[in-house]
């Protein structure tokens, strides 16, 4: 059996339930027989209870709960601003790919952007066949053709199997947009941008 000194030394462990079952039994036996130690145990228990009461059970505000919950939502979902940007991008994408005028302008802008990066233009005369760009890309890469919406878009295919984009311009208008010319062989004179894979047409004649 333990004495008063031993019990007071393990009072915290006893109150916190950290003693072994054997030690608890010994402590209980002493407490049952010693009034002073019993009061010490009761007072420590009362203190612990008073601490719990003093702290209470404050509830977090609904705003805090919402803020924390929003952490586990995907980032793009979190703010109206981000949602606005996402909606604008979707709309822009839709217009680019489904509105013929916008799509054509976007493609032309990309063409001109690509030739600006190409520092290797030179004057050439090339022969080839006019074929539709979307149909060729669909055949070769499984690209979804937009011809039904935007109309055919003329490209030059040379005998080595390479495709050449025809840059939009007053001279090339017919070659690009007149679908009745598809399949015709043509000789084109102009500047070639090898890296961009484009030709700026200055004149042409059908063969």
């Amino acid at each position: 059996m333990i004495d008063c000194k031993q019990l007071r030394e393990v009072l915290d462990l006893y109150a916190d339930g950290e003693l072994s079952s054997e030690a608890i039994a010994q402590a209980n036996q002493h407490i049952a027989e010693c009034g002073a130690c019993r009061r010490a145990v009761e007072n420590l228990s009362r203190l612990r209870e008073a601490i719990r009461d003093a702290v209470g059970r404050p509830k977090p505000s609904p705003e805090l709960v919402e803020r924390v919950r929003s952490l586990i939502l995907p980032r793009w979902y979190q703010t109206w601003a981000a949602q606005g940007i996402a909606a604008t991008l979707v709309l822009a994408g839709f217009l680019t790919f489904f509105a013929p005028g916008v799509r054509g302008s976007a493609a032309t802008a990309l063409d001109y952007f690509s030739i600006r990066l190409d520092t290797s233009p030179r004057q050439v005369v090339m022969e080839g066949t006019l074929l539709c760009r979307d149909q060729q890309l669909a055949k070769q890469y499984g690209y979804r053709p937009m011809c039904r919406i935007t109309g055919h878009h003329g490209w030059l295919v040379t005998s080595d199997g390479r495709f050449w984009g025809l840059l939009e311009g007053s001279v090339s208008q017919e070659l690009i947009h007149n679908s009745s010319l598809l399949g015709r062989r043509v000789k084109i004179e102009g500047r070639i941008f090898r890296k961009a894979g484009s030709i700026e047409v200055s004149s042409y004649e059908f063969l």
Partner: protein, 191 residues
């Protein structure tokens, strides 16, 4: 550590971590006060979400979150340097309780206890709140506070003794300096 998909990760976080939000909030209020508690809790959950993949499912999520709460609190404290750290060059020996059988803990205590708890040094306050309010085991407290179990024991022992002394002092200061005899008590004169 295996990375979870976003959906299963968020579902797990919602079922395992979010239910402990009130407990973390309660503790944060005691550590930093009601004004800063929201920010501390939010930052802790942000960090918990960020590192949730590293949480070992077989361990106690509540203890893991409290450890993060403490780390965030320490980071803030280091940034703001509002309070000096507790210097513990060596572990304090546990002192036996010899003065706990008197009546100083009788009656309504919560206001005095609240004041006394907030007057305790931070690490003692933390150990006491983790043990008495959150009822963590010593082992869990040691993990949360990143210290040996022996240090937890000495902090609880010293902290509770300090708390007892603070309450006793408050009670003494709140009482009149001398006792006035009740008027109905008969005056006895020696004949």
């Amino acid at each position: 550590m295996m990375r979870l998909g976003w959906r299963s990760r968020s579902e797990r976080f919602e079922t395992e971590a979010l239910p402990h939000l009130p407990a973390l909030f309660r503790m944060a209020r005691q550590w930093v006060g009601p004004e800063a508690a929201d920010d501390l809790v939010q930052e802790s959950f942000l960090r918990a979400w960020k590192y949730f993949d590293t949480f070992d499912k077989s361990t106690n999520c509540r203890a893991w979150l409290f450890r993060i709460l403490r780390n965030v609190w320490i980071t803030r404290w280091r940034k703001t340097r509002l309070e000096l750290p507790l210097s513990e060059s060596q572990e304090e020996p546990i002192e036996p309780y010899y003065d706990w059988e008197d009546e100083f803990l009788r009656g309504e205590l919560s206001a005095e206890v609240q004041r006394a708890v907030s007057d305790l040094p931070a690490e003692y306050r933390m150990a006491i709140l983790l043990a008495d309010v959150e009822e963590f085991t010593y082992k869990e407290i040691a993990q949360i506070m990143d210290c040996p179990i022996g240090t937890v024991m000495s902090r609880l022992n010293r902290g509770r003794r300090m708390l007892g002394r603070l309450i006793r002092t408050q009670r003494r200061e709140g009482q009149p300096e001398f006792e006035i005899a009740p008027s109905e008590q008969p005056f006895r004169r020696k004949l």
